[in-house]
């Protein structure tokens, strides 16, 4: 089975702290994604990456950055956390052209981040 692992399920951070959310996938997938999920807003794409060291902005990149130094790992960084970044963060991965060939995207279990 494909496994997408998010290292932290629950985090509480203070305003202004730098926060790292880590995601690792074990299926050698090229594409990796970070979404945030908020009630009434669904899942919104923050950033995605289709190769090592490559990244693309999603729909809501402001206040976030990402790092992809190794194929299996995709990190989301909050440079200076703010209370409006309190949310559930979901990492996902998929193989190259998977979405075009009938396969789906695989999600991690999510990281609940509270910024106080």
């Amino acid at each position: 089975d494909v496994k997408v692992t998010q290292s932290s399920r629950y985090l509480v951070k203070r305003t202004g702290e730098k926060v790292f959310l880590e995601c690792v996938q074990d299926m050698d997938h090229e594409n990796m994604f970070w979404y945030r999920q908020d009630p009434g807003l669904g899942l919104r794409l923050i950033y995605f990456s289709y190769d090592v060291k490559m990244k693309e902005k999603g729909d809501i990149p402001e206040g976030y950055s990402v790092s992809r130094e190794k194929k299996e790992r995709f990190s989301l960084i909050l440079e200076s956390a703010s209370t409006n970044q309190t949310s559930m963060y979901l990492c996902a991965s998929t193989g190259i052209r998977d979405l075009l060939s009938g396969n789906t995207i695989y999600f991690g279990e999510g990281s609940w981040l509270t910024v106080v």
Partner: protein, 116 residues
């Protein structure tokens, strides 16, 4: 830009009754469409997907969905709901025409409540 609209934020259905959840999409080419379900505290699970061919697709747990290009819709249906179907349901549109830009865009979700 691709987008998804789920017009119903919350639906309540009696156990044993039929269900239809609405989804409308906007996409420039042939869309790839998905329905995901998220139970409380759980990750996202793929219910079904449409890529091409038969416009009526069958999924897991007795769900089906029909792709209607003329209406830009991909509504989810189930003939008889069970209490265990109470969850949040997300419609998503995805794809991409070029290498590396496949991504999924999600709707805001519909929360389903089942009453005895």
């Amino acid at each position: 830009a691709q987008s998804v609209t789920q017009p119903d934020i919350h639906i309540t259905v009696s156990e044993g009754a039929s269900l239809e959840l609405r989804c409308n999409y906007s996409y420039g080419a042939t869309p790839y469409l998905f329905w995901y379900v998220q139970s409380p505290g759980q990750g996202l699970q793929l219910l079904l997907k449409y890529f091409s061919g038969d416009t009526l697709v069958q999924g897991i747990k007795g769900f089906e969905a029909e792709f209607k290009r003329s209406q830009s819709s991909f509504n989810l249906r189930k003939p008889s709901v069970h209490w265990s179907d109470a969850a949040e349901y997300f419609c998503a549109v995805g794809g991409g025409t070029n290498f590396g830009n496949e991504k999924l865009t999600f709707g805001t979700g519909t929360r389903l409540t089942i009453i005895p």
